[in-house]
């Protein structure tokens, strides 16, 4: 009896030991010329028209090339697969593709690869979350009605006119339409996508510089260089392995320990030490992200002439410089307009457009708020989601700044909401009683993208229901304008309307930040704060 008990114990210990050695070790993910990079679990299945967050977008950026590509440095849209995009009237477009492009499975990229993919993305029955990108194309209301069943399977505005040409007819004039075509939702898709959709989603096939070697959902994706890639921007490394991390801090720790090559989001808590930790291997570059405070215009209290003065006063009560320095350690820049520096002056960015209204001036702030009849409801409640980002920290800081300026420590409080989903629920349900956090990450580097979706009457992200006829007219005119510079000027005029009414308080431009190991060189972030993977050199 006693002997048997001992034997059992011994067996257990040996078994545990064996398991440890059997499971342990294993090969590394890196290897010659392959770099490892931190990743988050994509929220949606990896389809071009269904991916609307950075983590899935990162993969699409490596695996797909579209008609246009945004220059990783300037953000300017350049032709990639498109040879020419012509339009006589900003409404009808003829698109001609370059020859010689194939998918990594050998299939040729033709006009049909695009047209079918766009039809797929627009169709209501496929539940694609980026379907609205096709909303400018004629026939969208039939393929994707707001309610009721769809009455057409394909967009009437799309026509294949040759193996490498197709035409697009829009339902309104939209001069910068070609510049939007660099967005991942417009990527071409191979036949395999439709033939065996489940298999494709498990291992997407595209036409970009990388192909997917293996994908374990929720933990890792290994991409290797596609040697036959015909494009002008082939991968300069042998491959990239994306590893899902439960926490940015752990990824950062792994870079310090030499277990990971690249972390593309340095957590705020580590920013203090990042320069000494990484010894210059830290980048901090502007990205097309703007944080603002939006207002509930559906609440009559906020929709008065007096409230406009109050909003301007609140903007002046926020010490942007101090908050960006102390909380974000320079990874945010105080905003002075409603776009982003990544657009460049030619693209419509105008430093200082906001003027004195974005300067910290507590005395003037107090005066304006008093003249405007005080804060509607007596107390400012800033609503935000507390689950991600460091929103709590900056909302508390903003409130603190406002309280100090007004000399009243009860004037402003943060109103946290548990999850992002619930926060979105309440914003889209129009249940806000005061200002709320409204972050905007651009879809494509165009001034149009910073204004129209957010402030146009009834637009998709106009959560505060702001409405201004003059603004709408200017945007319509800008979209119809064929001359690019003139269009940008009109958009800037529209932005002036936003300023004069202080439709939303701009807070700061957000930078992308990344840290990398000594094995890597030529690391850069594009204006979407995604690493330019194909240019990274290993070793």
């Amino acid at each position: 009896m006693r002997g048997r008990a001992h034997a059992r114990w011994a067996a257990c210990v040996i078994a545990a030991g064996l398991l440890a050695t059997a499971c342990g070790g294993g090969q590394g993910f890196g290897g010659a010329g392959v770099l490892t990079s931190s990743w988050g679990d994509p929220q949606n299945p990896l389809e071009p028209a269904n991916t609307n967050e950075v983590q899935g977008g990162k993969v699409l950026d490596m695996v797909f090339r579209g008609l246009k590509k945004y220059d990783p440095r300037t953000g300017k849209a350049r032709n990639m697969l498109a040879e020419r995009i012509d339009t006589p009237d900003s409404r009808n477009f003829t698109i001609k593709l370059k020859g010689g492009w194939t998918f990594s499975n050998g299939e040729k990229v033709t006009a049909r690869s695009f047209v079918d993919a766009w039809n797929y993305g627009a169709s209501l029955k496929h539940n694609q979350k980026n379907a609205y990108f096709f909303g400018y194309i004629e026939g969208y209301d039939k393929v994707h009605p707001d309610s009721g069943p769809q009455t057409a399977g394909t967009l009437s505005g799309l026509k294949v006119t040759g193996p490498r040409t197709f035409t697009v007819r829009l339902n309104q004039k939209f001069s910068s339409f070609p510049d939007t075509l660099g967005y991942a939702a417009y990527a071409p898709l191979p036949r395999a996508f439709y033939a065996d959709h489940a298999a494709w989603v498990n291992k997407p096939i595209g036409n970009g510089p990388y192909q997917i070697a293996s994908y374990t959902k929720g933990s890792a994706m290994s991409l290797k260089k596609w040697d036959a890639y015909p494009g002008p921007d082939p991968a300069r490394n042998a491959g990239v392995t994306l590893l899902v991390y439960t926490d940015n801090n752990t990824a950062y720790t792994d870079v310090l320990a030499g277990n990971l090559d690249l972390v593309d989001d340095v957590p705020a808590t580590q920013l203090k030490n990042v320069h000494t930790d990484l010894n210059g291997r830290y980048i901090n570059t502007p990205a097309g992200i703007l944080q603002t405070l939006a207002f509930p215009y559906y609440d009559p209290k906020w929709n008065t002439p007096g409230a406009r003065m109050v909003r301007t006063g609140l903007s002046m009560a926020i010490n942007r410089k101090q908050i960006t320095q102390t909380i974000f350690r320079g990874t945010r820049t105080p905003a002075t307009d409603w776009t982003s520096p990544v657009l460049g002056a030619a693209g419509g960015y105008q430093a200082g457009l906001c003027g004195h209204a974005c300067d910290y001036d507590p005395a003037e702030a107090r005066k304006l708020i008093q003249e405007g009849g005080g804060i509607p409801g007596g107390r400012l409640k800033i609503t935000y989601n507390a689950d991600t980002g460091s929103h709590k920290q900056w909302v508390d800081a903003v409130c603190n700044s406002i309280n100090n300026a007004l000399d009243n420590d009860q004037a402003c409080v943060g109103n946290p909401i548990g999850t992002f989903a619930d926060f979105r629920n309440q914003t889209t349900g129009h249940k806000m009683s005061g200002p709320f956090r409204a972050g905007w990450q651009m879809d494509y580097p165009l001034i149009q993208n910073f204004l129209q979706p957010l402030y146009y009457t009834g637009a998709s992200s106009n959560d505060g229901l702001w409405s201004n006829k003059q603004f709408d007219r200017l945007v319509d005119r800008a979209n119809a304008e064929t001359d690019r510079a003139a269009a940008v000027r009109l958009f800037q005029q529209a932005e002036g309307v936003v300023r004069d009414n202080m439709a939303a308080i701009p807070l700061w431009y957000q930078n992308g930040s990344a840290g990398y190991s000594a094995r890597l060189s030529h690391v850069a972030l594009n204006p979407f704060s995604v690493p330019v993977y194909n240019e990274i050199k290993v070793g």
Binding site: G218, Y245, D254, F420, A421
Partner: protein
């Protein structure tokens, strides 16, 4: 014994239904999960309505619950928002967490019981005071502090271990397991110590010593066996707590286990993931408790189940 087990199994049914219903209600109180799916932009109404229909979110709550429970019996836990089957997520998450829990429990048993016996036999001596102080420190320091500290020291400063877990094998899980076990380990030590110290003076130990039995036999067969009952109760209840409570440890050490999936499910308000994982955790709790009760009879033959 058989009847006892059957009765206990039957009792599990209402507990199971009640707890899943509670979780279902709690997740649904948080509001419409589709709202968070489209990022900072509102989903267009047609797509949102269709997604709701697909996930069955447009039906009244009781009906959702009934369908969910119905599917459960056919082994269908539903689909997460990223298109993955929840059973698939479980298949990848549970093995890792089970390994982590096994490591933690082993630490609790090996270190905790050993220290407990040691200190229980030497009550009041310097060893006893030292260990008591040590456990006090461990209990009072939060797990995330211990975890981050060990990660920093062992992972970065001394480079003994990799600071993050990649494959989830046993050797990688030793340090995370120790961190996860730390607080319970301290409790096991204290429980064992008290129990041993109490039983040391009991009649059957004196009898065993008087019979002239070797010291280690007195301690292991007589003293320890009888002193283990409270400890076994604690460890049994701890199995479920460790599996569900691994969120902090799993985040720090990058373990893609149950805690991580639950955390992400809650953040994304993914009803199917959260309810599915909690359902399994409830089952683990129930079974662990049953096993503990059955173990009593093994440890102490005087306890018999009619």
């Amino acid at each position: 014994m058989g009847r006892y087990v059957a009765r206990r199994l039957l009792q599990m049914v209402p507990v199971f239904i009640g707890s899943t219903l509670l979780i279902f209600l709690m997740v649904n109180v948080m509001g419409d999960p589709i709202a968070g799916l489209c990022g900072e932009r509102a989903c267009d109404p047609a797509t949102a309505a269709q997604l709701k229909r697909e996930f069955g979110l447009d039906k009244p709550l009781w009906q959702q619950y009934a369908t969910y429970m119905g599917n459960l019996f056919t082994g269908d836990f539903g689909t997460a928002f990223n298109g993955q089957k929840v059973t698939e997520l479980m298949g990848s998450a549970f093995p890792v967490t089970i390994r982590l829990t096994v490591v933690a429990i082993l630490f609790e048993i090996l270190i905790g019981v050993t220290l407990g016996v040691l200190t229980g036999l030497r009550r009041g001596r310097p060893v006893d005071t030292g260990v008591l102080l040590g456990t006090l420190v461990v209990i009072s320091v939060p797990t995330f502090v211990t975890g981050l500290l060990l990660q920093l020291l062992l992972g970065i400063k001394w480079q003994w271990i990799s600071p993050s877990v990649r494959y989830g094998s046993f050797d990688e899980l030793i340090v995370p397991g120790l961190v996860l076990a730390s607080v319970s380990l301290a409790y096991v030590t204290r429980l064992t110590r008290t129990s041993i110290a109490e039983n040391k003076r009991s009649d059957y130990v004196r009898t065993a010593v008087a019979k002239g039995l070797p010291r280690h036999r007195v301690i292991v067969r007589h003293l320890l066996r009888n002193s283990l009952i409270p400890v076994v109760t604690f460890i049994g209840a701890d199995i479920g707590a460790l599996m569900g409570g691994a969120i902090v440890t799993e985040r720090i050490f990058n373990i893609h286990g149950v805690g991580f999936q639950l955390y992400q499910g809650i953040l994304r308000q993914n009803t199917q993931t959260v309810v599915g994982f909690v359902t399994v955790l409830v089952l683990v709790f129930l079974v662990a408790n049953l096993l503990v009760d059955l173990l009593y009879a093994v440890l102490d033959p005087r306890i018999r189940y009619a």
